[in-house]
């Protein structure tokens, strides 16, 4: 596992259009307070930052009293602005290694329930495309950074990641998010097609059909999957080709429906199937470049799922992933063991 950084930065967009930088540094605590916030000439703002950080820490499983985190901001937000809250929380997590982003982060969002890990909304309207935005439609829950569902929300949604590989510089991991709501109960179990209850906004018709077919098949494999849910599937990036996203989609669906063990980090999966109703996982193309791409983005706690046909000759990859704290499984079928 890589060593923790001594300091971390997270940016946020202010209402006047300028960019604020939140810097978090870590040092031995020596009987001092566990968090200290600095805001020049604004003790009230520092107090608010402290409250936000302390509340957000309630959602973490591991408490370490050995370090003190000092958080400071380089600009002063307006009197009633709250959009910087998410950036402060993320900076605090980055410096302790709880959240390890691959690229610099620009985050905007505020919340009334940081102690539950929820992000209620954001105020900014002209944020750049790479920005991490809180609230509905974006990051609604801090666990969503690694794809985990909010264990107390009325809508269960989970994310999984799959490699987008085209051989160019834009190769990256793309997420797929499945949100499920209970379907209204009308007595008869076999009403309509499962595919009709699955909405896939933003994709073209053929891809929508592929998504619906894969999900309906995988839910058929699962005894309790059919006829219980209305679902919405969203992709981080709507333009892609091929069907190697299917395994990630199916895993996100199973986690959202509460029927799969939850990984500590993200699920990164690639694989397709012509027989999801039997739970089978078929191989896809591009083993070597996809493995290299996954390895580049792997973080501690991540779970990497690959088709069983790739298992031979992956020893070096498995070792390298384990060094980064991620675990690899080559699977023949989904489900328990």
């Amino acid at each position: 596992m890589s060593a923790l950084p001594d300091s971390a930065e997270c940016r946020s967009l202010l209402a006047d259009g300028s960019v604020m930088t939140v810097t978090a540094t870590r040092r031995p605590r020596f009987d001092r307070a566990d968090v200290k916030c600095n805001a020049a000439h604004a003790p009230q703002l520092a107090g608010r930052m402290l409250t936000v950080v302390r509340l957000a820490r309630h959602t973490e499983a591991r408490f370490d009293s050995r370090d003190q985190v000092v958080i400071s901001i380089d600009r002063q937000p307006g009197e009633h602005e709250r959009d910087w809250e998410l950036a402060v929380v993320l900076a605090d997590r980055m410096v302790r290694g709880v959240y390890r982003p691959a690229a610099p982060v620009l985050a905007n969002g505020w919340s009334d329930d940081w102690q539950l890990g929820r992000v209620d909304g954001r105020d900014t309207i002209d944020a750049p495309a790479h920005a991490l935005l809180g609230g509905p439609g974006g990051l609604a829950h801090l666990g969503m950074l690694t794809g985990q569902p909010d264990a107390a929300a009325a809508v269960a949604s989970a994310r999984a990641w799959f490699p987008l590989h085209s051989g160019g510089v834009h190769d990256s991991l793309c997420w797929v998010e499945v949100s499920v709501y209970p379907a209204p109960h009308d007595g008869n179990a076999n009403h309509g097609e499962e595919g009709d209850s699955i909405a896939v906004p933003g994709l073209d018709a053929t891809q929508q059909l592929a998504v619906r077919r894969a999900l309906a098949g995988a839910r058929h494999f699962d005894v309790r999957g059919l006829g219980r849910w209305r679902s919405v599937v969203r992709f981080g990036q709507p333009r892609f080709h091929g069907n190697s996203f299917e395994l990630a989609l199916v895993m996100a669906d199973r986690i959202a429906r509460g029927r799969e063990f939850v990984p500590r980090g993200r699920i990164i999966a690639t694989g397709c199937s012509s027989a999801w109703h039997a739970g089978r996982v078929d191989p896809v193309d591009g083993c070597a470049p996809k493995c290299a791409l996954i390895l580049r983005h792997a973080a501690p706690g991540d779970r990497i799922l690959l088709p069983a046909a790739w298992a031979s000759g992956l020893d070096a990859f498995v070792r390298a992933a384990a060094e980064k704290g991620a675990s690899v499984a080559c699977i023949e079928r989904i489900g328990i063991i």
Partner: protein, 374 residues
Amino acid sequence: MGTIAAVTTMTTIARLFGWRGRGAPVEASALGVAMIAMPMAAGGVLPAGCGAVVIDTGGRTRRAPEGSRLQLAPGESAYVFHPGPYTADLAPFAAAPEIGLQVSFAVDNPDPRVAQQRFDLFLASEAQGPLALAQFSRAIEAALQRALAQGNLDLPPCTSPAEWNAFRAGFNQLLYVRFGVTVEECVPVDLGESVDFAAVLIARTLAQQQLAPAPVLALAAAPVACPARAMIAAPDPLADARALRRLFLELPCVMCALRLAVLPPGLLLFRRHQDVLRRLDLVSVAVSTMPALALAAPGVALAAHQQLRRIHHSRRAVGALDEAWALLARLQLSGAAQRETEFDGLFDDAARIVANLEYELGERRMATVDGAPA
């Protein structure tokens, strides 16, 4: 009428002389099914197949011989327990209620190599009154969820057989070290029969809808809401006492087991081991000299909100104690398997847990928090 009066007089006399239901059989029907252990009065006969643990005022335990009439010295109390096996369904992840583990566990025969059985210590320090199976499996579930969330046990999606075996080994050791029970069988199960996740989500939606109009009514409801909040905030001295009792009884046992842990040779590791033990010794002293909850100084009462803060910290110290037991289980496994590379991380975790214990107990000791130091 005369008979009833005579019986009443007899009962009064019996109570007066301390004849508490001499020879009366204990309510044994539930033992071994829904009850794991229940308190027993002196003079009772142990039911067949059950064991008994006698606990004195200082928390020291001994086993009563099987099938005998229970003899208690003044100040001692006793629990009778059925060794099982028991079966429980656990949900390892709070966010995935429809998948779980079916665990069957038992209180094993006493291990002759140790001075005190872990299960006896569990009864002495944690059982308050009868110990129901449901309550015990909730405690196991909490320990399991915590170990998984911290990454000390791994149960990832699409678990491979090798990962499952590693999980089982860690889980067995965790339950043995933390609760003193032996896992006989553990299989993944579909909990969909008993838990309907869709219904859970609907219930959450309804709860949120009921909460939503609250701000509108806040003005009218404010006078009523305030006393309710005051009642919630009343300090619970018993919670603090229980937490400190657990620390007082269990810390010496944690230290004893840590001292006996098998470590690979090496001066650096030896030094870290000694350092952790030394600091735990000081923590132990801090627990046994902890000031009373309600007093800021001799004869000076402490404000209620400060008492609440103290209770909060003593409960968090117990959380760190639970982590110490879990760490001990991992140390023993790594020592037995001679995986020497893991010890660096384990001792880093040990230093973290000891630091947390020191921090929480220091906060518990403080009477006031005057202006947060820089």
